[in-house]
Symmetry: C2
Subunit: 185 residues, 2 copies
Amino acid sequence: MPQDKEKAILKITQEMIRRGGYNGFSFRNIAAAVGIKSSSVHYHYPTKEDLAVAAAQNYTNEFIDNLGEPADIVAQGGNPIESYVDAFRNVVLNKSGMCLCGVLAAEADNLPERVVAELNVFFEKNVEWLKNAYTAIGNTNNIEAKAVQTLSSLQGALVVANAGGNIEKFNLSVAHILDDTTGNS
Amino acid sequence: MPQDKEKAILKITQEMIRRGGYNGFSFRNIAAAVGIKSSSVHYHYPTKEDLAVAAAQNYTNEFIDNLGEPADIVAQGGNPIESYVDAFRNVVLNKSGMCLCGVLAAEADNLPERVVAELNVFFEKNVEWLKNAYTAIGNTNNIEAKAVQTLSSLQGALVVANAGGNIEKFNLSVAHILDDTTGNS
DNA sequence: GTCTATAATTTGATAGAC
DNA sequence: GTCTATCAAATTATAGAC
């Protein structure tokens, strides 16, 4: 199965970026983890930039897909903002490192522009999802601000949790987000 | 003046880390920027870990010193939380990249442990400062949670601003922080 | 698609002269 | 304290055989 190797490359690349950023992975590291040689990795992704762009795209699509549709969550009696916070909480609980686009965003000044462009796609799609989520729960005041605040609070909570590495600090950081979903403040 | 070179090394190292993280600087890069050779940088800081530790310590001390004392700010009619938000806003306005300890925290899993230890010092000192600040303005409910939330929100606001790079998004991200300093919610 | 082999560059680090 | 010279290792990337 030819495309399995390509998927394996993408998966391990994502994991490595989430722990060490753009310089946290190398063609040889990835090759060793997948069980092939570095030249074979280059066959699938000619340059490091290509590989990072593909990893960011794949991460973004998986992340958004995994969230589901805000309207569906509400229809099933759930709170989409709670779902969103849980998605980030699971990053800490599963010890998956950082949000791939969060860690790359921190290094953006030293990254190829095509990679930075993908980061913007991630952030735009997340703001869009959150705006739909706040709309879906009838929280319609200052939607844009609420969406950006929730996104940045969670990115920051991951940063803080990743330094000290405990879930309690993460939970403290995000407690205020859900307070906002019961009223319309 | 011998110690001037050492200070110059520390300064340029901080700048480079803030733009590219731990792998955003090299002994040769720094040497070139300071106007000496890489072996001279090694004389002042034997290993890369040593240099990163010194840069983190220096950054933390300068950052906290620059904030001043919360009680003094209140005594002069100011709002220390506003001062704190401004300190982060200036990072974006001055295009200084990221918070040095924020970008390193994102890469923590791939960093020498002595560097990670310094990150924890930064975060602890900041939480302490914020607790004093909330106390100084008479906002005494859930001080620990408020401090951690403000810190992580600002770290996240820098991450988001650093990807897209505009001050409007930063301002949107942090708007809610000051809303909290007028009441006691 | 994967391999061997290798090129070209960069990196952290050290020895020893001045 | 700074220099020249150098080392060993790692990195991105390519050529060509199978």
